[in-house]
Amino acid sequence: MNFKNLWTLLSKGFLGHSDDDNADRYRILRRNIFILMILITIIPLIIMAVIYQHEYHSSIKKEIVIPLQTLTHKTKHTFELFFEERLSVIRFIATSYSFKELSDQKTMNRIFNVLMDEYCCLVDLGLINNKGIQLSYAGPYDFLGKDYSEQKWFQEVVVKGTYISNVFMGYRKFPHVAVAVMKRTEDGSALILRATIDTSKFDDIIASMGLNPESDAFLINRNGIIQTSSRFYGEILDHCPLSFPRGNYEPIVTEATDPRGREILIAFAPFSSSDYALVLVKPKSDVLHTWHTLRTRMFFIFISSVALIILVVFKLTDTLVTRVKDADEKRELTFRELQHTHKLSSIGRLAAGVAHEINNPMAIINEKAGLMKDLVAYDDNFQNKEKFLGLTDSILKSVERCRAITHRLLGFARRMEIQLVELDLNELIQETLGFLEKEALYRNIELVLKLADNLPRICSDRGQVQQVFLNIINNALAAVEDEGEIVITSWEEDADTVGVSIQDNGSGMSEATLKSIFDPFFSTKQEKGTGLGLAITYGIVKKMDGEIKVESKQGEGSIFTVYLPKKAKIGSGE
């Protein structure tokens, strides 16, 4: 769609054709252009902002998620190494020593002491036979002879060969983890070496992650029970209120809202060799601080841009529609003037034709009636002489009336003709007032003259210019009450034009009257007016290439302003 088509759509489709309500038309045009321009400018801006936000958000998330995954993965690996190391040591002892040696309490104590020196966090060490009975034990408790055959971990280690327990509180009520390995002897019987580990090392590993005070990291088991201390989500062996995704052993990062209402990112990494999973929690506001700052700035820029666009579009639309309106008004005025001039011209021609056609039969009637009158008048013996003379006089009077009408019509047509002479407009106005001053005097109407000194002489038609002022001043006299006022002002408008205004404080005119004031045969004076006065005035002024304007308010009066060229041009009115 090119611009021309778009404009057609705007002015026709959007405008509709409600010619009777111009204000509404331009209001709709203004609204439609405004909406269209706003849509054209703001939609791409919105799309761009959304895409940019989406892309940037994705990018930021990646930048946040990857470090979280890496940190979680590394820490999980540290934990797994810790467990693996403990299991390897126990497995080595189980392999290196015979059943008999391990059953010996002294040997067990010696091994435990060596391990205590080499590896931290070991609480105790014990040997259990295939029936679940503790055969030897080195550690702080008196577990010798204790029967584990009914415990779950014992069954598991017998089946799987190794075992890492969940955290439990133990006799001294601090958290422990038990690790155990099973070894089969030459005779096929199973011996189980079991060690208990203090979990304080776990806290050290988590502390080494270097988390800020708003973040949290802890271990949970597969049932969601917290295994190490947590800052925000419960004590050891409490159920963790967060929910975690199921998946493989690779760290997964998800978004959630915690019970405190914080928007958080959770990195979740299950261990491959045990039931544990490492949980790392970071508040979103913390990690997305950069994003939020940028988003706020973007939002401010967006709102400012939109406000600026709306302002510019509003001003542009207003200018555009005002220009369209002015152009329309000018075109309409020109069209109306043209129409009016054509109407006057047509009526002039029609009037001339009608008057001429009527004049001839009227002339015959006139002569016939005149002859009848003559015959009667010259015959002294004519019966009913007086009555006949009265009748013929009546016919002749009627003919005279018709003559006056046809001459007026012909005069209307004739006034289209111009004869140019040099004129003193002030003098002409005063001369014109000479015809009317008796009426003004009789009715006590004040005629105020404000005529410009040194008003340039103009080249125009004396009779027709006089007719213009005579008609307008006559109308003003008809409009004012007795003791009213008529002000006549003249001035030099510009290098080519002079202006004359005739202002009265009479009854004024309605909008409807103003619209038809220059139409031929339009009159508000009932039978007293022909309705041709102002039409003739208009025709004369236009033909001289002048302008005539009228302003009026009902009850306040009217002002007629005539602009005449200093050198009248003969228009092509007829």
């Binding site: 016939k368 003559d374 003919v399 046809t406 012909l410 004739r414």
Partner: protein, 123 residues
């Protein structure tokens, strides 16, 4: 004024014959021509003392007849009659040498007055 020889030229027979009769009632000798050609023949045959001439006629128009009169018999005063109400034709006629012009329908007394003026203006 009595027995003044006057020629009335107009294509409207009803008008011109009635006008002639009225003038005769007032003691003038009025002859009638219904077109320009007939008017010229009458002028050549029996020169009138004054011509009342309609401007708008079919064939030879009033202004042409006026031109001819002013060329051939310039001493004859001519009063023009116009039915158009336009001063333009009257003024043009006066420029061509017509004494004056009147607009139809005419007032007989006004016409008599003009005739008198025209005759009196003759040298």
């Amino acid at each position: 004024m009595k027995n003044l020889k006057i020629l009335l030229v107009d294509d409207e027979e009803e008008f011109v014959t009635t006008l002639a009769e009225r003038l005769e009632l007032r003691g003038l000798q009025a002859r009638v021509a219904l077109n320009g050609e007939a008017a010229l023949q009458i002028i050549e045959a029996d020169t009138p003392e004054i011509v009342i001439l309609d401007v708008l006629m079919p064939g030879l128009g009033g202004l042409e007849v006026l031109r001819w009169i002013k060329a051939q018999q310039p001493q004859i005063p001519v009063i023009l009659l116009t039915g158009r109400g336009s001063t333009k034709e009257g003024i043009k006629g006066m420029e061509l040498g017509a004494f004056d012009y009147l607009m139809k329908p005419i007032n007989i007394e006004e016409l008599i007055k003009k005739i008198q003026e025209a005759i009196e203006s003759q040298p």
